[in-house]
């Protein structure tokens, strides 16, 4: 029996896979970039399905809004846009390696006993995840706010700081690299 969620999942799956294939095979880089945006949006859809709404929003903001645009800029700025996405000499090794890895991953995914949480607890998880951002108290919980924000500046404060440093470094590095030599 096919639920609404399943239908959405399948649609998203087909869209994302087709778009991803498009990204890597289409000759025109500009079109690749547009298809890449489609992949990002489909992944955002998956996030919603997985009740990670906050992440979905972040995905759309950063990937679709920023990164895709950056790519398009880059393609525009490097002149040989249209004939850029040529395959190199590693076609057969690349396909075989990827296929092998894919088979391996699928086998691993199917054969492993993941011991998922019991069906009964699913709702609880979903609501906890959904409310992660808002922090509204739930029936099974005694109302403490346990949002992502608290996790980020609490338990994960060190990685958080490290990532901020990384971003700063990337910012400076990007500037230094992109700056023309003379000035």
């Amino acid at each position: 029996m096919l639920g609404a969620q399943d239908i959405v999942f399948w649609v998203l799956a087909v869209v994302s896979i087709v778009a991803a294939l498009g990204v890597v095979v289409v000759k025109d880089l500009f079109r690749s970039a547009l298809l890449l945006a489609v992949v990002f949006i489909a992944v955002a859809g998956f996030f919603v399905l997985l009740s990670a709404e906050f992440l979905a929003v972040v995905q759309v903001l950063i990937y679709v809004g920023a990164i895709s645009v950056l790519f398009i800029f880059a393609i525009m700025l490097t002149r040989n846009v249209r004939e850029g996405n040529l395959p190199n000499r590693l076609q057969i090794p690349a396909i075989s390696v990827s296929a092998l890895l894919l088979v391996g991953m699928i086998v691993a995914a199917v054969n492993t006993d993941w011991r998922p949480i019991p069906e009964a607890a699913t709702d609880l998880v979903e609501s906890a995840q959904t409310q992660a951002v808002s922090g509204v108290a739930e029936a099974g919980n005694d109302g403490g706010s346990t949002g992502i924000a608290e996790l980020l500046i609490g338990e994960f404060v060190l990685p958080f700081e490290a990532v901020s440093l990384l971003l700063l470094a990337a910012l400076i590095g990007g500037l230094a690299l992109a700056r023309s030599r003379g000035t």
Binding site: N88, L90, P93, A94, V97, S98, L100, L101, G104, M105, V107, A108, N111
Partner: protein, 718 residues
């Protein structure tokens, strides 16, 4: 009683002189050239007085045994040092200090103008100290140490004029050849130490010389601590050392070359003292040899053969010092033969007299050299007019060497020949007879070459000296010997040189009366046969008795000696040098030099005076190949140096080893390095620089890990 410190002082005086010269005079006071000489002479005077004192005390039967001192104590490897003042030592000490003193006085004159005079006296001090240490040693390791040190001083003094390549080469040769013998000596010492437990069982020390004597004696229970093959091996080892030092065949070839050193050095080291150390060594261990008959026979035969063979070589040498050198080898052969025949007293007596007359002969040769500027007798002649003293003194020395009554050499040589004649010693009578024949033949040759030397040097007309020799060498295009100078001033040597020779001549003439003739009961307070009795009293073990005077032998040896002199007179003194002018006889030169000589002669003839004509022909050359054989010293130098050392050893053996080291042993190392580099180069091909290729390889690795995990690691997570 003599205090131990006084006995040590005999050794320490020259050592002190060495230290003062090398640490104070040579660095700071080198501007006063004779100072070091005076210092050494003063030290030697003190040492001589002490030596005579010790000798007198010893003769009076004083107890001169001193306890040994520990030098190195490592459990059973204890090495002690001490003094052994037996009669043999006492005699040797007097000889060494006495001759050394005279030679140093002579050196003051002979080395006067040499810039290295301080160095010379430093080396001489070192030598005298080492030689005294050698004869005084009570421990065999101590003896070996001084044994090597005299070798060192000999090396330094032969190579004293180190800017002469021939001197440097001769010094090296002397050291290495004696060292070959020394290895035998060292092995004997090691072998003695090896028997340490057996020695210790009898309460003996395997390195203490009197204990070694005792060990060789038969025990009451039968056998000996050191007996049979072991004893023979030890004796042969010791004899190897002695043969090296005393220039016995086949280790004799260094001694003639050693004449490259200053003449006083030759007189002291290579005639009177150091070369006699080999004889001393065998005498020192005589109680061992007596128990080892095989070793005795070897000593006797080697000695006899050397006495004869060296004398034959002495016949043809042109260099006055080389004649003397072969004579020394020959006389040392006499002493060795005597020891081998069991004639302990005669051997030492000959050592004693030989020290005087041979030192005298060498000093005389030095005196002649001072006048003529060369050692080559072909360019001398007629010197008796200018140098009457030298001539007279050399004549005394020569007659003593030849063994003419009543000079010292007669008495000592006669005792040795008598011992061989009687053949009463421990060796087989047939061996003794063979030795007797060799020794008598050697006596004939000795007389001949000695007077050949005297006639060539002092008789006839003067033939130009060093100046002429340089001229000829230039004309023939061959390098002149480095010792030749063009300073020819025909005159008697200064008094400082003649006086020591005079003292030696007196000793060479009269020393015989210390032993013989036995029918004289007492002469000037010295009892008849004193020397032999005294020396033989050193033999605490075993027994040796000098044979009484033997008329037939005395007659035979005198006749033989006179015959030799007569022959020499016929061949050399009858000749008029002018008759030789232009007469080109085949002198025994190597074929290579012959070719150059032919053309050179013609140019040389142009400016030749009759009075200045060098002795071009050698009467003995008529013997043809025999002369060549002798002149080239039986080709032994060619065999040793040319064939064995240069080719077989250096070029082939060492060359091959060196090649293998560079190419095989190191080659394997370099090969493995090369292989590593090649493998690296091969693997580096994978380093394409293509990021995506690297990525693919990484993913491949990830796949492998994944597959591995899926296939084998199913249980890992459990």
């Amino acid at each position: 009683m003599v205090a131990e410190s006084l006995a040590w002082a005999i050794f320490l005086m020259p050592l002190l002189s060495f230290l003062l010269i090398s640490l104070v005079i040579r660095p700071f006071l080198n501007r006063i050239p004779q100072l070091s000489g005076y210092l050494l002479i003063a030290a030697l005077v003190v040492a001589l007085v002490l030596s005579v004192l010790v000798l007198v005390r010893s003769n009076e039967g004083a107890d001169l045994a001193f306890p040994a001192h520990t030098w190195l104590d490592l459990g059973d490897a204890a090495i002690q040092i001490g003094l052994l003042l037996d009669p043999v030592t006492c005699i040797m000490v007097v000889v060494v200090t006495g001759v050394s003193l005279l030679v140093q006085i002579y050196s003051l004159g002979y080395m006067k103008d040499d810039p290295g005079i301080s160095r010379y006296f430093a080396y001489m001090s070192l030598f005298t100290a080492s030689m005294l240490g050698l004869v005084l040693s009570a421990n065999i390791v101590q003896l070996y140490a001084f044994w090597e040190l005299v070798g060192l001083s000999s090396y330094l003094l032969i190579g004293f004029w180190h800017d002469r390549p021939s001197a440097a080469a001769a010094a090296k040769k002397a050291f290495i050849i004696t060292r070959i013998g020394d290895v035998g000596f060292l092995l004997a010492i090691i072998y003695l130490f090896y028997h340490g437990p057996q020695f210790a069982a009898q309460g003996l020390n395997p390195l203490h010389i009197p204990d070694i004597w005792q060990a060789a004696q038969p025990l009451a229970t039968g056998g000996a601590v050191l007996g049979g093959t072991a004893l023979t091996l030890v004796c042969l080892g010791i004899f190897a050392g002695a043969a090296g030092k005393s220039g016995q065949f086949p280790l004799h070839s260094w001694l003639p070359d050693a004449m490259e050193g200053p003449t006083p050095v030759s007189a002291l080291i290579h005639a009177a003292t150091m070369v006699a150390a080999g004889v001393f060594l065998v005498a020192r261990f005589f109680p061992l040899f007596q128990e080892a008959r095989d070793a005795m026979m070897v000593v006797a035969l080697v000695g006899g053969f050397t006495a004869f063979a060296a004398a034959t070589l002495g016949l043809v040498m042109d260099d006055i010092k080389r004649v003397m050198a072969y004579s020394t080898i020959s006389q040392l052969g006499y002493m060795m033969a005597a020891l081998g025949l069991g004639a302990f007293g005669p051997a030492l007596f000959h050592l004693f007299t030989h020290a005087f007359f041979k030192a005298l002969l060498f000093l005389g040769a030095g005196s002649v050299n001072h006048a003529a500027g060369t050692f080559n007798m072909r360019y001398m002649g007629g010197l008796r007019r200018q140098m009457p003293w030298t001539y007279a003194l050399l004549l005394v020395g020569g007659l003593s060497l030849v063994g003419i009554v009543p000079l010292a050499g007669f008495w000592s040589k006669d005792e040795i020949i008598t011992a061989a004649w009687l053949g009463e010693g421990p060796v087989d009578p047939r061996v003794a007879l063979a030795v007797f024949v060799l020794l008598v033949a050697a006596a004939l040759l000795t007389a001949f070459y000695t007077f050949r030397m005297i006639f060539l040097t002092f008789h006839g007309d003067f033939r130009g000296g060093g100046a002429r020799e340089l001229q000829d060498a230039e004309a023939e295009g061959i390098p002149a010997p480095t010792a030749v100078t063009d300073e020819v001033h025909l005159a008697e040597s200064p008094r400082v040189m003649v006086a020591p020779m005079l003292v030696l001549a007196i000793a060479a003439a009269l020393a015989g009366y210390l032993a013989n003739p036995q029918w004289v009961k007492e002469l000037l307070g010295i009892p008849g046969h004193w020397f032999s009795y005294y020396v033989e009293s050193a033999l605490t073990y075993g027994h040796a008795e000098t044979a009484p005077f033997n008329w037939p032998v005395a007659v035979i040896s005198t006749v033989v000696a006179l015959a030799g002199i007569g022959l020499a007179w016929l061949v050399y003194a009858q000749r008029r040098p002018s008759a030789d002018t232009g007469e080109v006889l085949e002198t025994a030169r190597s074929p290579e030099t012959d070719e150059t000589q032919g053309s050179a002669d013609e140019t040389a003839h142009g400016h030749e005076h009759a009075a200045l004509a060098p002795l071009r022909s050698e009467p003995l050359a008529k013997a043809g190949p025999v002369h060549t054989l002798l002149y080239r010293k039986y080709f032994i130098d060619e065999l040793y140096e040319g064939l064995v050392v240069k080719h077989v050893f250096y070029r082939y053996f060492a060359g091959l080893t060196d090649w293998l080291d560079r190419n095989l042993v190191d080659g394997i190392v370099d090969l493995s390095a090369w292989l590593t580099r090649q493998i690296g180069r091969l693997v580096a091909q994978l380093q394409t620089g293509q990021v995506q290729f690297y990525g693919a390889v990484i993913v491949m690795g990830a796949v492998l890990i994944l597959v591995g995990y899926l296939a084998f690691g199913a249980g890992i997570g459990e």
